[in-house]
């Protein structure tokens, strides 16, 4: 291949080819999804990510502090029993293995509401920082799903009465605000299910029972 024109042509084709391969590959990565968001959505995402990252940093600080305490304690020959007991109690309460108590809200749901709409309420409460949830006295854990057609709802083989209550432990203002804000979930359900009434009240002290479900997987084993 001695003609310089032919070489230039091949180089140009190779360049465009390479560019398109890169663009196509980049289109496969998750980051390119951001290209489809509007400025407002990106702002919401950035706020969300910032909040999340702050929570993660707090968690890391707590964990690294614990690790440092444990390490220095052991260096001095101290026991780790106290730390173990605290950890155990916290993880069990978080996971729903033990009863939990704290301030929060009570949501009274009255009327023909489908299971998916109740799950939407639970999802919104989780998004607003609910640390423990129960529906009609049944602790909500992964695997608990409120299911069924309106007037025939159940959660974990417990039939729900009409009305029934959802209890959530967390910041009462944040939880109430998330549900009752203008255009929020209560307003949306008011439009799609006008016969359903949802009343949210803050509560100083809630006590949610432990779950009755088995949470340790029967078919899964820890992946080392």
């Amino acid at each position: 291949m001695r003609a310089p024109r032919a070489q230039i042509a091949l180089a140009a084709v190779a360049l465009v080819l390479g560019l398109l391969v890169v663009v196509q590959l980049r289109a496969q990565t998750a980051g390119s999804g951001l290209g489809e968001l509007s400025a407002q959505e990106l702002t919401i995402l950035v706020a969300n990510l910032n909040q999340r990252n702050d929570q993660l940093r707090t968690e890391i600080a707590t964990l690294e502090g614990e690790a440092a305490d444990l390490a220095s304690g052991q260096a001095q020959g101290a026991t780790s029993v106290g730390q173990l007991e605290q950890d155990l109690a916290r993880v069990r309460a978080w996971a729903g293995l033990d009863a939990a108590t704290g301030m929060g809200i009570r949501v009274t749901v009255d009327g023909p509401i489908p299971g998916t709409a109740v799950e939407d309420v639970i999802n919104e409460l989780r998004n607003s920082g609910a640390e423990a949830l129960a529906v009609a006295g049944v602790r909500v854990v992964p695997g608990s799903v409120v299911a069924g057609p309106p007037d025939s709802l159940s959660v974990e083989n417990t039939a729900l009465d009409d009305p029934f209550e959802i209890s959530a432990i967390g910041n009462p203002e944040a939880l109430t605000g998330a549900l009752t804000r203008a255009g929020g979930l209560v307003a949306q359900l008011g439009a799609t299910h006008p016969d359903v009434s949802i009343v949210v009240i803050p509560v100083d002290r809630l006590e949610l029972p432990a779950t009755l479900r088995t949470l340790v997987s029967e078919h899964g084993r820890p992946r080392l």
């Binding site: 990252n53 950890d87 729903g96 939990a100």
Partner: protein
């Protein structure tokens, strides 16, 4: 040395290479055009700094999650090698191991299903909401709910573990799970009993979902039954700010 065959054989090799390259170019152009489906494109300039910020924050989030997993590993190691009454420490560590597994803090592997949700390939007819043709947070939640009802013991969405505090939300045409930004396709992985898919496909809720979303709007749903589905550990906050254990009812 005359005739068509002789002329073909006489083509210089660079011309053949160029021809192949142009062919590949054509395919890639076609693929690029085709991949720009019904998703909306925005082109205002102010978004670029926001996109860079979001990408940076996501990269930070990934690093922070790695540090959390590492710190938990360190603590587990230190607790296990700790002193104090050996029997009590052993008992507490075992309890912690079980509690962490129950809470979703331990990655699991086992038989189960992976369900893949993808946006519809159909374009929205004029006057209809394009968002109906995209996988929504509601769609992802429906699949997670149906899997749980069918007996799934551990679930993750694009490697985000579903836990007691997991919220799944819409953001633009994508979703947030555990506040992590996920783009389609969404792989919902579940570990469970051998008849998990059978129970799923027989559930009214799942059948309704397929009818309302896949058949009506072309949301694509594929699945694979696998012997070694991996459901990763939850790498998020397990701190309780308002809730506390009820004393007197915990194991001692």
């Amino acid at each position: 040395m005359n005739g068509p065959i002789a002329r073909v054989r006489a083509l210089p090799s660079w011309q053949v290479t160029l021809g192949v390259a142009l062919l590949a170019l054509g395919f890639l152009i076609a693929a690029q055009l085709q991949s720009e489906g019904p998703r909306v494109r925005y082109t205002t300039q102010e978004r670029e700094p926001l996109i860079q910020t979001a990408l940076g924050l996501q990269a930070q989030q990934d690093q922070l999650k790695e540090r959390i997993l590492a710190a938990r590993g360190t603590i587990a190691g230190l607790e296990q090698s700790g002193q104090g009454s050996a029997a009590l420490v052993r008992e507490l560590n075992q309890g912690l191991e079980e509690a962490r597994t129950a809470a979703g803090l331990v990655p699991l592997v086992g038989p189960g299903l992976v369900l893949r949700l993808e946006d519809s390939e159909q374009a929205a007819p004029p006057g209809q909401a394009g968002s109906d043709y995209l996988v929504s947070a509601r769609d992802v939640r429906s699949i997670v709910e149906e899997l749980c009802l069918a007996g799934a013991e551990a679930v993750a969405v694009n490697r985000e573990r579903v836990t007691v505090t997991t919220a799944i939300l819409d953001i633009g045409g994508s979703v947030l799970v555990n506040s992590a930004y996920l783009a389609p396709p969404y792989d919902v992985a579940a570990i469970g009993p051998a008849d998990l898919y059978k129970r799923l496909s027989e559930s009214t809720g799942f059948v309704d979902f397929v009818r309302a979303r896949a058949e009506a709007f072309g949301i694509r749903l594929r699945f694979a039954e696998l012997p070694d589905v991996v459901v990763p550990a939850y790498a998020g906050s397990v701190t309780l700010r308002h809730a506390r254990p009820v004393t007197g009812e915990t194991t001692q």
